[in-house]
């Protein structure tokens, strides 16, 4: 019953993390494009952002979903076995899981297919996306528990 109730919270967490990751990824790439001397208009920026939100769905939405699912399961187990504040376990899991996944992809493929993951600052932004997803998940499941 509790598990069934947590599904909408998980979906919300994935959507928030994915949207943040996608939007920041686009701005990161557009900053590169500007650095080559091109002018990026607001209309182009908005169109590119929407394009990427749609375009990243097959690869990145699935990657975020699987990553956060595994991370939240581990956080839940740690909370039950070790104890402490549940929200901290989930925030740590959210913050660390997506950068770890990106690094695993780089380790296995030898390359970084998502441009945002190519720099330390980009990895930090990815981590913050996961943290935001975890925050949403904890918040929504707490509300449900109350």
């Amino acid at each position: 019953m509790k598990f069934t109730k947590s599904i909408p919270a998980f979906i919300a967490a994935v959507v928030v993390a994915y949207l943040l990751l996608s939007v920041m990824g686009t701005q990161f790439v557009l900053a590169d494009v500007k650095s080559y001397g091109l002018t990026v208009s607001l209309a182009d920026r908005l169109a590119a952002t929407l394009h990427d939100i749609y375009g990243l769905v097959p690869a990145m939405l699935i990657l975020v979903s699987v990553t956060l699912f595994i991370a939240f399961v581990i956080a839940s187990i740690c909370n039950q076995i070790i104890g402490g504040h549940r929200r901290y376990w989930f925030r740590v899991a959210g913050f660390t899981s997506l950068p770890i996944t990106m690094m695993l992809v780089k380790f296995t493929m030898g390359v970084t297919p998502f441009a945002l993951a190519g720099t330390g600052f980009g990895l930090l932004l990815i981590a913050l996306s996961g943290l935001a997803g975890a925050w949403v998940y904890v918040r929504l499941t707490q509300v449900q528990e109350n």
Binding site: S22, G25, T26, V29, L30, D32, V33, S35, Y36, G37, L38, V40, D44, A47, A48, H51, D52, G55, L56, V57, P58, A59, M60, G110, V111, T112, P113, F114, A115, G118
Partner: protein, 362 residues
């Protein structure tokens, strides 16, 4: 009714077109990821294998023992032994050029050596170019070689996948077409010689992973390069020009996101043609022979992903039409070259790679 039958028969032969006008024979098999081929003056052939071997095909048979004394080759990912180019004076000086990945998984680069072939060994080896800086990805080495009419050497260097931004700056070799003398020195008329912010070997920039390069009979330098997801390009190369990657492209990132939302920009060259979806071009030749008169002057582009060869009919510097050929092989084609006999030679990209000869049916 008879007339109708004749028309149908005529249309059948027209529609089957070139399928009836060539045969494909296996010259040798048992090669491991053959990458490039060179035709020796005595009719023998040299074939590079990406895992770091140079093989001799003599009298139609593959010599078991690879050519000896090759330098250490970094073999990993897309890295390995790449192109081979004979010096025009090979018959008298036995000199050749090889490109390959050198270094380690943590620090590798495209390198070119000059050497002589003597008694089934390389001798007098000298490194004439090493791309800088080294990279830690085993992808996008480029590695094609060609000689200009003035006997300077062109070398393609890919952008290393993770270093695409560097293709737009001139202080490195990532995503560049390099021009050097055959001894490795820099020609004084290279476009960026004398600029403090540029490496002098650079001839053009803004490339991704260029695996096709040729100098045509009329002196045009043609280069094709892999795009990401779509956006493979055929480019007409002019020294000093910026070919746009990754600022402009018709391809998408593998993730599905934009590399750039733009396909054109001031100061950046447009491709002569591009392929979406990707055909993954690798290998290139201009047909100059008489064996297939209809193909004279056509460009042939080997395609890995499409498992084909594209025949490009050119006119006034543009592609007038394209034909997708040899799909019946169902093989990734790494290289297409015209042999001295006027036949086409194909290299198939697999651990059971072959050299195939395309010749007239009779």
């Amino acid at each position: 009714m008879k007339t109708l039958g004749r028309i149908c028969l005529f249309l059948f032969f027209v529609s089957t077109g070139y399928a009836a006008e060539y045969k494909i024979e296996t010259v040798v098999d048992g090669l491991s990821y053959p990458w490039a081929i060179a035709f020796l003056p005595d009719g023998d052939m040299l074939v590079t294998e990406r895992p770091g071997r140079l093989r001799l095909i003599s009298g139609g048979k593959l010599r078991v023992q690879p050519i000896g004394n090759l330098p250490d080759v970094f073999v990993g990912g897309q890295g390995g032994l790449f192109d081979i180019l004979l010096d025009p004076g090979f018959a008298s000086n036995q000199r050749l050029f090889l490109s390959f990945a050198s270094g380690t998984s943590d620090a590798n680069a495209t390198r070119v050596i000059s050497a002589r072939l003597e008694d089934h060994m390389l001798v007098d080896i000298s490194t004439i170019f090493t791309a800088s800086p080294a990279k830690d990805t085993p992808h996008h080495f480029g590695g094609r070689l060609a000689l200009l009419p003035d006997q300077t050497l062109l070398v393609t260097v890919g952008e290393g996948f993770n270093f695409r931004k560097k293709a737009q700056s001139l202080d490195n070799h990532f995503g560049k077409l390099i021009r050097i003398n055959k001894d490795g020195t820099v020609p004084g008329d290279n476009p960026f010689v004398g600029r403090d912010d540029a490496l002098p070997e650079i001839w053009t920039y803004g490339h991704r992973n260029q695996q096709g390069l040729l100098v045509s009979a009329d002196g045009t330098v043609w280069l094709h390069e892999h795009g990401p997801r779509g956006g493979d390009e055929l480019n007409d190369i002019k020294p000093g020009k910026n070919y746009g990657w990754p600022a402009i492209t018709h391809g998408m990132d593998y993730s599905g996101a934009y590399v750039s939302p733009y396909t054109e920009a001031a100061g950046m060259e447009q491709p002569v043609t591009y392929w979406v979806p990707s055909i993954a071009p690798s290998g290139f030749c201009e047909y100059k022979g008489d064996t297939f008169p209809d193909w004279k002057g056509n460009l042939f582009v080997a395609a890995l992903a499409e498992k084909s060869v594209r025949r490009l009919v050119m006119g006034n510097g543009v592609v007038l039409s394209q034909e997708t050929m040899f799909t019946e092989l169902n093989q990734r084609i790494r290289e297409v070259r015209e042999g001295p006999d006027g036949h086409l030679y194909l290299l198939t990209d697999s651990d059971e790679g072959q050299v195939l000869r395309v010749s007239p049916p009779n």
